[in-house]
Subunit: 259 residues, 2 copies
DNA sequence: GTAATAGTGTCTTTAAGACACTATGTA
DNA sequence: TACATAGTGTCTTAAAGACACTATTAC
């Protein structure tokens, strides 16, 4: 049986208040509390590869391994606000697509102390995050390629560096990345999320490549075009891409029909 | 700007360690930590109504209002284990379908102290939970009907009692219930989840009624039958339901094809 | 002109909706 | 036998896959 921190009698009124619980109600802080952090899975698509922003750890434990940017949640700070703060302070980004992913709370997931992590995932066009990383000139931050076996669910992700070398993920971050990719794949089918990874104007090929990269498989070109045009979320600009060495495609913008 | 609890320098190495962060690394416990609880959305379908198990609060705040069963997460207890403990100790159930839903962390969601709640949702056939509630003879626990406007997403749920009277939900639990129903509706389309709400043997009508109740709309009878039989998750038993006052339907069992 | 991809038109396939029709246990 | 729902068969509709064919820019 685990040690349990009960408290605040009325929160657990279903059983009737035992004396132990009654006393606990006076001071919930008598019980040890876990730390709560947010970890951010910041993803993008670059040259047909799915990438995530990771940081190299320079202290133990897991020194030299790669971790997701994270930070502790302030006592007066909402989870969403903490995630946006991490996005801003660790990746130098703001106003990206971001949403809560899942909470990870195995007692031993961080060997130093009990840390419950609420993971978020964020999407940003590759040039934005690429610029942010390169402008620092630091070698302990990286856009690493993320690969997750297709077809299976709930598998860990694998990280790869610029030269295709395998990178080790710290803590349980391989699993967090795996869950993030699984969620991203699922959401592609029923929400307008691919646009978050593209510049304002893009061709239908650009959009399809984003989808194919995330899903890890080729999509039917004709059906994809029909489905996207029928979704009502695309506005043709009348302009064409240029200098592509072949017939240029029309540029579109994302503009949802329902305001 | 919110007060922020940073700590464990290496966890936030992206920015380089400021002196403040360096000091924080020595003792993460210097910073106030939120309490972490799990809240359980235990749902069932009964007589074409979607129901949730709720408890009447007998102390302030929100005295007399109805809340989800919950409990604090032990310092050595995983989130999943805490949720299963709440299921066991508050609802007297075990071995039900249960999965993590979402984490709620608005600083003011509990007026007493900062509590971050990791919500879980569980599904159980109506007779099992009905028996558990009635056997206690208590009037501060209830299966309440849950209604969520259909078509919209991310709306609060409304709770109703036995006589159709509106019940007030405590804290942010109306929102948690709304998120739970939204998740449940979404999962119906691509996972074998309706079976969790039925006895071992059931008719295709039983299964359709469960789906219709959750989705809040009628489904096409023929298409539903075809789709379910084609899913490969149903095994005909050869037996028929009895005493239904009309032609009896065949009984099926859930048995997934992929082992 | 050629290369290469954009974009269109059409046939096939698959699944859902609609609906008529037959089947059968209970009262 | 009548009732009410189970279950089947078939036509229609909508969307995806397949594939042939035309269009257009870079070179």
């Amino acid at each position: 049986m685990h040690q349990m921190a009960m408290g605040l009698t009325d929160h657990i009124s279903a059983e009737g208040a035992s004396e132990e619980e009654f006393l606990a109600a006076y001071d919930a802080s008598r019980f040890p509390r876990p730390s709560v952090a947010v970890d951010l899975v910041l993803m993008t698509v670059q040259e047909r590869r799915l990438m995530a922003f990771v940081l190299k750890r320079n202290t133990h434990p897991d020194r030299g391994m790669w971790s997701l940017p994270g930070g502790f949640v302030g006592i007066d700070e909402s989870l969403d606000a903490a995630a946006e703060r991490v996005l801003r302070t660790k990746a130098g980004l703001s106003e990206t697509f971001i949403e809560q992913l899942y909470s990870f709370g195995e007692p031993a997931r961080d060997p130093r102390t009990r840390v419950i992590s609420v993971a978020y995932f964020a999407l940003v066009p590759a040039p934005r995050i690429q610029t942010a990383v390169e402008s620092t000139g630091r070698d302990d931050m990286l856009l690493a390629e993320v690969r997750v076996r297709v077809g299976t669910s709930a598998t860990d992700a694998e990280l790869f560096g610029e030269n295709g070398e395998r990178l080790a993920a710290a803590f349980d971050h391989a699993r967090i990345l795996g869950v993030a990719v699984g969620r991203l794949r699922g959401r592609l089918n029923y929400s307008a999320i691919g646009y978050e990874l593209l510049p304002e104007e893009f061709t239908l090929r650009d959009l399809r490549v984003v989808h194919e990269t995330i899903l890890g498989r080729a999509l039917n070109k004709d059906a994809f075009r029909r489905r996207m045009l029928a979704s009502g979320d695309l506005r043709a600009t009348g302009r064409l891409e240029s200098s592509v060495g072949h017939r240029p495609a029309e540029l579109y913008r994302f503009e949802s029909e329902k305001p």
